[in-house]
């Protein structure tokens, strides 16, 4: 049932909270292959995880600061683009993160 108007804001907040953790995981998974922001966003949208650039780019920066991603500026189609990919540290962390997510998913399915 769609949330009523009164609960819409609450639902939005809960939805965003739910999505936040999943998005990080999705971005890390997608960046096992090198992408620049625009193609990454399109790839995520194609997999049913749309994300606006105002959320994606700050997230990419944060993940890079945390050492999970590496980036470099390169020219493609006569335009400079910043390409991101998973760092060695990112690869190492992704494995247990995915296992954790699968565990949560299994538990939730059990509860439901």
């Amino acid at each position: 049932m769609p949330p009523g108007n009164d609960n819409h804001e609450l639902f939005e907040n809960l939805r965003l909270e739910l999505r936040r953790g999943s998005l990080i995981l999705a971005v890390l998974v997608m960046l096992r292959v090198e992408h620049y922001g625009y193609t990454l966003r399109k790839a995520l949208a194609d997999h049913g995880m749309p994300i606006d650039e105002g959320t994606l780019y700050p997230l990419l920066r944060r993940l890079e600061t945390q050492g999970l991603l590496v980036s470099e500026w390169r020219e493609e189609d006569k335009r400079n683009k910043r390409f991101y990919r998973l760092s060695a540290e990112g690869k190492a962390i992704l494995k247990p993160l995915l296992a954790e997510w699968q565990g949560i998913n299994t538990s939730l399915n059990g509860i439901l």
Binding site: Y38, E53, G54, Y57, P58, R61, R62, W73, R82
Partner: protein
């Protein structure tokens, strides 16, 4: 892509300086790619209106920049008082204010040969911190409640946006009483002279400025009336305000620095020292208070700001003329 560049410049203003160029380069590439995709889908170049609608949907520049400042310092006590995008500006202005206050107090104390203690500075510094913080807290609330680019909108975008009817109405509500007051002044000088009107009269030099100021007020009201009915005439606001403010500068200059007294002692009281002093005091308060240098400075600065907002309209006009003339040239061989 003039609009996009203008939008990106506006976003850049609120970004952390160390990363701003990098962020803008990346954001620019993304937005350009999206616009190109839209153009490909439409099969023709996007119009300025379509680009403006796209950028509006993307978010106002301050909100976009705010997402990159999540970890930046802010003033938060339970809830956010000054957001991360305003906080650096707050610190800079507060520091400038405090340095000026402390320097001025030190100079005054030294010149008066007064003893300098901590107490000399405590109260003025607390007042400065309180006032600057309060002003920024108010700005923070306004920016959160009205997320559209109302404060320094990029000139190119301002040129595209319809003038809100509420904006014209609020201007009319403000200026109509001013007009009525000004119209009533010749008949009821007490509206400006107060109880002193019993002993003073408006001087001939006052009447020299009466009509020019009346015309400026009327022009200001006319612009609001016209924009109320024609909100699409976005050029009218900056052009009229540029003209009004630019015309106010010489009027106020002559009023402030070159004019004879604006009020005189009424014939029945001439020569009475008490009323001569009263006339002097009223002249002083009119010249340095009501029509003081603050108003002159405000008009000058406003003229420059509105000149800046006229530029995109001028560019569009010239582009339109150039487009029309090149179309004529390209059509002429076929005739």
């Amino acid at each position: 892509m003039e609009l996009l560049d203008s939008y990106l410049r506006a976003v850049k203003r609120y970004l952390p300086r160390a990363q701003s160029s990098d962020i803008i380069k990346e954001l620019s590439d993304d937005l350009r790619s999206q616009l190109e995709e839209k153009e490909t889908a439409a099969g023709c170049p996007l119009t300025d209106e379509e680009i403006a609608a796209f950028l509006k949907q993307h978010g106002d520049p301050m909100t976009v920049a705010r997402r990159y400042r999540q970890d930046s310092p802010s003033l938060t006590i339970g809830w956010e008082l000054i957001g991360p995008e305003l906080f650096p500006m707050y610190l800079i202005l507060l520091s400038i204010n405090l340095v000026i206050t402390i320097a001025a107090l030190t100079i005054v104390s030294l010149s008066m040969r007064a003893q300098i203690t901590w107490q000399t500075f405590t109260l003025p510094v607390i007042i400065q911190i309180f006032c600057v913080t309060l002003a920024f807290m108010a700005m923070n609330v306004v920016k959160r409640k009205f997320p559209q680019p109302w404060y320094y909108p990029p000139a190119e975008m301002a040129a595209m946006m319809q003038i809100k009817r509420g904006y014209s109405i609020s201007g009319l509500i403000l200026w109509s009483p001013v007009l009525l007051w000004w119209l009533a002044l010749p008949r009821f000088p007490s509206l400006i002279l107060g109880s002193a009107a019993a002993h003073l009269v408006l001087a001939p030099s006052w009447h020299n400025f009466y009509v020019p100021i009346l015309l400026l007020v009327l022009a200001s009201i006319s612009q609001r009336v016209l924009n109320l009915f024609y909100p699409d005439w976005t050029w009218l606001l900056p052009v009229m305000r540029l003209l009004i403010n630019a015309a106010s500068v010489p009027v106020l200059y002559f009023l402030l620095f070159k004019s004879q007294p604006l009020v005189l002692v009424a014939a029945a009281f001439q020569g009475v020292p008490q009323y001569e002093k009263l006339a002097e005091a009223v002249n002083g308060s009119l010249v340095w208070g009501v029509f003081g240098p603050w108003l002159w400075g405000y008009a000058g600065i406003s003229a420059l700001v509105y000149a800046w907002y006229c530029l995109p309209h001028l560019r569009r006009l010239l582009r339109g003329k150039a487009g029309a003339s090149s179309a004529t040239v390209s059509q002429s061989p076929e005739k």
